[in-house]
Symmetry: C2
Subunit: 344 residues, 2 copies
């Protein structure tokens, strides 16, 4: 009879606990998402349906010490939080950062950031803002965003490639983000694409994918092509050191052959790399994210062609090449924010 | 009171069911493991503790049709099964095969096998022998063996590289084999290592890792080096077309500089490839398996050096380079057999 009582009471207790937990969630209906890019840091408040309710940003490179940086973020983020009802409405904070270690909440030796060594970023924000904070690679965060709200909805195996200042990646296998044994897996921007005479990379090595297929890689290709070739080009009207990938796109749209060739060159190298990635995890789709991916057929056609030509026959035509379905700013903030719900 | 009775009786029923299931396992105490290599097909009977109790083999290439091949395997396998008490003692059969599709139980377009197209191998054996049969990539099977009985015991993130007639791989992430969306993931022997003037591969493309770092790749390097260089070498006493990787090892052990350089060349390319693999999944260890891996420091030193020199700084010194701890023949059979326990 005692057993009966226990078995009868236990489910009631569990229900009660669930109600308490649900109540807590309703009392804390928002999370903070923050994306630390090489250029900009964007942060925002997100609700449980994935609506980005308020955002702001600062320049990442303007702060020599991590303390100054955290203070600068907080000076803009805390007013946002206050406008949503204060910190007691925030369930947690998720951060996407280069070289972010999911297991430890640290940024470790990020080549594109001004703060060197191991930075305990999650702990710093958790202390300053007073909410549990989790952290991962910025591209992993974007992949979570894409899986939850974007082009990879419902997929269990896909690779997200972010084409920004650098090239990042988030790999999802069996429905799980791949963090690796140390929390840093998925650095596909740093596979070597040119083993001889490869371009020097910010990581200290040569020939990394990132040196060719990032926005800065495209600008670098433009400068190389302008020196190596003598034909006229709209790009010649811009001082070489000031050319950015957007200039190349604008020239390509106006029919500039040299600019179109720059995208052809960039797309082919990316397609070759994607073919190798397919041999690794045979994803259902590769999702491209970032400004470069929006250069339309100028870049998508050479990527698709090089992928088709270089992929192992057994994988031919199987992996979809997709564009991110998330708005640029939102994707990173949304993805990072998803971590906030589970932060402890 | 009725509820009480149900709650009291249920655990008893579950116990009874468990006993019936255990009894079935005890009545079927063995599995069959089979490894289909480009050269040999090895099969054996394995018990639940991973003891390989009996094995036999046939030559893979001697049978033009898949029916002849299955008959040839069965003519040697069925007597083994009979010697263990008959087919009613066999729980299931697991097969490791090139281009093996875990989801469908098929071999699909395997470039190194004589049977073209899609071969429903699991179904053929299941019908012929009368036990449930599961199938995967031969290297995936080896990885399962290594995880269960070998150098990767207890690891959740590792990559197995098999250096045989070809180069295969089995990738374990979060404790799970990576099959990809189509069942074919983990073809790391076919990442492109030389994009210009790469060697022609059996897959129809050029510059694959396999063309350099398989046993046949080593023999190919030997022939290239003997033509390109004029110094004396023990290898010159062997007709060029007959050189195999074992000859190169034997010459290296005798102090032959050219033979040692062949291993240096092979090891460096493999180390470069491993550095890229680490960027993907950041494994705790990479386990090397196969004859080549047993060439000691001649090959292991250049692999380790090239890995250290080429790996992204964030991963430096983190990934262990290990040798398989399984006996050659046993590893493949053991790994494949592990699939047999779960075959349905």
């Amino acid at each position: 009879m005692f057993l009966f009582l226990i078995l009868y009471i236990c489910p009631k207790l569990i229900n009660l606990l669930n109600l308490i937990i649900m109540d807590t969630n309703m009392e804390k209906p928002y999370v903070v998402g923050m994306d630390i890019g090489g250029t900009n840091t964007v942060f925002g408040i997100v609700d449980s349906r994935g609506n980005v309710l308020a955002t702001d940003s600062i320049k990442t490179q303007s702060y020599a010490t991590i303390e100054e940086y955290v203070d600068a973020v907080c000076s803009k983020l805390l007013p946002l939080i206050d406008s949503m009802g204060g910190v007691e409405k925030i369930k947690g904070m998720g951060v996407g950062a280069p070289n972010g270690n999911y297991y430890k909440g640290t940024i470790e030796f990020a080549p594109n950031l001004p703060w060197k060594g191991i930075i305990p970023l999650a702990a710093l924000f958790s202390e300053k803002i007073g909410v549990p904070t989790a952290l991962t690679n910025d591209a992993n965060a974007a992949a979570i965003g894409e899986m939850t709200y974007g082009a990879a909805r419902g997929m269990k195996d896909f690779i997200m490639i972010t084409l920004g200042t650098g090239v990042g990646s988030g790999i999802v296998i069996n429905g799980q983000l791949v963090y690796g044994h140390d929390g840093f897996a998925g650095e596909l921007g740093h596979v070597i694409m040119r083993r001889e005479n490869g371009r020097l990379c910010g990581c200290g090595r040569k020939g990394c994918l990132e040196t060719y297929c990032s926005a800065t890689g495209v600008a670098r290709t433009a400068r190389e092509f302008l020196v190596a070739r003598s034909e006229p080009s709209l790009l010649r009207s811009i001082p070489a050191e000031e050319i950015v990938s957007k200039d190349v796109y604008d020239a390509a749209v106006k029919g500039d052959k040299l600019a179109q060739d720059i995208f052809e060159f960039t797309g082919r190298i990316l397609g070759e790399a994607l073919a190798d990635f397919v041999a690794f995890s045979s994803p259902e789709a590769i999702v491209l994210f970032g400004g470069l991916a929006k250069s339309g057929d100028y870049i998508m056609k050479p990527i698709q062609n090089a992928l088709d030509e270089n992929v192992l026959p057994i994988f031919k035509g199987k992996t979809k090449l997709l564009l991110s379905e998330l708005k640029d700013a939102d994707a990173a903030v949304l993805g990072a924010s998803a971590l906030g719900w589970e932060a402890k």
